[in-house]
């Protein structure tokens, strides 16, 4: 028998929390020192930015049930808004630009979310494409957004917060990591609040939600706002921490689908699923190209590689939808559960996670 105090501590220190702690300690204390610049620059930083975007889309699509096909537009809005805040308000600290860019993206998201008040399902999904095309067009057409660069390209200044420079590969990684951790915590809190429950009620049954008093209009617009806020912040990371030179064409429909695929592959309505899906979509092409080169040598040119990536990713989406509609995270959970049962055999009380 355990004492009550110890059992409380044990109960708080669930395997999930233990795993999270290990992950965070590794991410902050091991990777910045052990990881190569290639790993940080080409894998982890884009992973973090896209994971945050996936989390944002998952809030909207996974939790609130409103499918959006225009995520890349909000990435672009975030990136260009932060660039302009930074450029036009010289005294503004970078973190303030980052948050302000998130709010600009949220405002744009709410405007393009307005059709959700009248439309549902496919009609809504199609209407979210309007954001995609309009934003890309506006950023290319109006020179003001890119400080009159003829093709709309922006160069992000070196990253610095409160006098500390984050411009190296490690610095940009740590900065992205911190932003993503904070944003994820906030997102998690939001989902466990009344707002989060409203989102899910809206997704599960709109009429029922309305009957039990969920304010549909406010909830829907809030879902669009919060989601595009997070995606906008992810866009700032994408432009300032990862690529540093971005153009509107980089935020095309393929990018939107990429983010959508992340949450389908990872798992809808799951925060860990968004991260898992992002990791998969970022790492998988790299692995495929390595294996392709190793197995088939020079037969595998870049065109063939890109096409086979498309085929495999598409097939994977179909396969997952058929075999595991809840995404990879459900698979991981099942495996983890089996291991846990082996390592900590269940006592009289079943373990909740």
């Amino acid at each position: 028998m355990t004492t009550p105090i110890r059992s409380a501590a044990v109960r708080w220190f669930t395997p999930n929390r233990f795993g999270l702690a290990v992950l965070l300690i590794t991410a902050y204390a091991v990777i910045p020192f052990a990881g190569s610049d290639y790993l940080l620059d080409a894998v982890l930083t884009p992973f973090l930015a896209l994971a945050l975007a996936a989390l944002g889309l998952n809030l909207l699509t996974g939790y609130a049930g409103q499918v959006s096909l225009g995520s890349a537009a909000y990435l672009a809005v975030g990136a260009y808004a932060a660039y302009n805040f930074n450029l036009r308000l010289p005294g503004l600290p970078f973190l303030a630009s980052l948050v302000a860019a998130g709010f600009v993206a949220a405002a744009v998201g709410i405007v393009f979310g307005l059709p959700s008040l009248r439309l549902r399902g496919f009609y809504l999904a199609v209407s979210t494409l309007a954001a995609q095309f309009f934003v890309q067009w506006a950023l290319t057409k109006f020179g003001w957004f890119s400080n009159n660069n003829p093709s709309g390209v922006i160069d992000a200044p070196p990253l610095a917060v409160a006098g500390l420079s984050f411009s190296g590969a490690v610095g940009r990684y740590v900065f992205s990591l911190t932003v993503v951790v904070v944003a994820t915590l906030l997102g998690t809190r939001l989902l466990r609040s009344q707002v989060g429950r409203n989102f899910m009620a809206l997704r599960d049954h709109e009429v029922a939600a309305k009957v039990i008093g969920v304010p549909l209009l406010r909830t829907k617009l809030l879902a669009f706002g919060v989601s595009s806020f997070l995606i906008g912040v992810a866009g700032v990371l994408w432009a300032f921490a990862y690529l540093r030179t971005v153009e509107p064409a980089g935020f095309n429909l393929d990018r939107s689908f990429q983010i959508l695929f992340m949450i389908i592959i990872g798992g809808l309505a799951s925060i860990r699923g968004a991260f898992l899906g992002a990791a998969f979509i970022v790492v998988f092409p790299l692995l495929l190209s390595r294996f392709g080169a190793a197995l088939l040598g020079n037969v595998f040119d870049s065109g063939v590689l890109e096409m086979s990536q498309r085929i495999v990713i598409g097939a994977l989406i179909i396969g997952l939808l058929i075999a595991e509609p809840c995404g990879l995270i459900a698979l991981v959970d099942r495996v983890a559960d089996k291991i846990r049962r082996r390592v900590f055999p269940p006592q009289s009380r079943p373990i909740h996670n």
Partner: protein, 296 residues
């Protein structure tokens, strides 16, 4: 001074290109009507059909044989899609099916280009694109030909739906899947037939669009032009697809010519979406869509 002749010319050009949009939209409607799936892979099918045909013809296969072989391949594709993708996903939510077709579009696009290469192919259907004049208005001969083909196809489908047993089965499935199953219709066979029909539409649309734009990857993006047409016309109405296509085509061209210069041009990319959305805010079920309380 308003130039009426120029206005009419733009309008006619818009209407004729609208027919091309309708042609793509009909492929969507066929599948949506009978299986409730918004088939995002329609554009990929279009690309696949056009690319297969062009590659065959370039390798010395005669025109009609090439068209026949492509037709057979599209039939095989339709049956395969039903077998591999749709059947295991029966009873899943329409959104899951939609996402599956997104994946499918990646597979088909990738396969088409892996098979036949990524270079741009020219496609000559043997119709000279020389504009001729009617009452002072220039009309593209090719556009007129495309409109005639589209008209024939639509009439054929309308007659098929109306007068054949298979057409009746299509309508029954569209009306109520469970009732159709209960009276002994084979859902899987109907779906395979519908996807085949959509493949045929994709072939025709692919050839026409391919002759206009060249056969290349961007052909699959024609879907994005057809989506606002669908939103406007209603996902489940062939008539809506046609009227919607004409409207979108005309509005798009007129907006580009008369509103575009005020905004710096290039508004074609989103004007159609804005028009469709504005319309939907007033009439959520589209022009001819079934009036349901909830459309999911």
């Amino acid at each position: 001074m308003f130039d009426y002749q120029f206005f009419i010319e733009v309008l006619v050009g818009g209407l004729l290109s609208g027919v091309m949009y309708s042609l793509v939209a009909i492929g969507f409607v066929l599948i949506y009507k009978t299986s409730g799936v918004l088939n995002f892979a329609q554009g990929a099918m279009l690309l696949f059909a056009a690319l297969t045909f062009v590659s065959l013809v370039e390798r010395g296969v005669p025109f009609w044989l090439g068209a026949g072989v492509t037709l057979v391949i599209m039939v095989a594709l339709g049956v395969a899609v039903e077998r591999v993708v749709l059947r295991p996903l029966v009873n899943q939510s329409p959104m899951a099916l939609f996402m599956a077709t997104l994946g499918l579009s990646y597979v088909i696009e990738g396969a088409a280009q892996l098979l036949w290469g990524t270079q741009v192919h020219g496609l000559d259907l043997g119709i000279k694109d020389i504009p001729f004049e009617v009452g002072g208005v220039l009309i593209s001969q090719f556009d007129l030909f495309a409109a005639a083909i589209a008209g024939t196809l639509v009439t054929a489908f309308a007659l098929f739906f109306r007068y054949t047993r298979t057409g009746l089965a299509f309508r029954a499935v569209a009306d109520d899947q469970f009732a159709a199953l209960a009276v002994g219709l084979r859902l899987s066979r109907v779906w395979a037939a519908v996807w085949t029909a959509a493949g045929v539409v994709a072939l025709v649309a692919g050839l026409l669009w391919g002759a206009r734009l060249g056969v290349q990857f961007s052909l699959s993006l024609v879907v994005l032009k057809a989506l606002p047409v669908l939103v406007l016309g209603g996902f489940d109405s062939v008539a809506g697809a046609i009227v919607g296509g004409l409207l979108i085509g005309a509005i798009e061209k007129l907006a580009e010519v008369y509103v575009g210069p005020l905004l710096g041009g290039g508004i074609e990319a989103w004007a159609a979406y804005v028009v469709a959305l504005a319309f939907l805010l007033l009439r959520p079920s589209g022009l001819f869509g079934q009036k349901l309380v909830e459309r999911v």
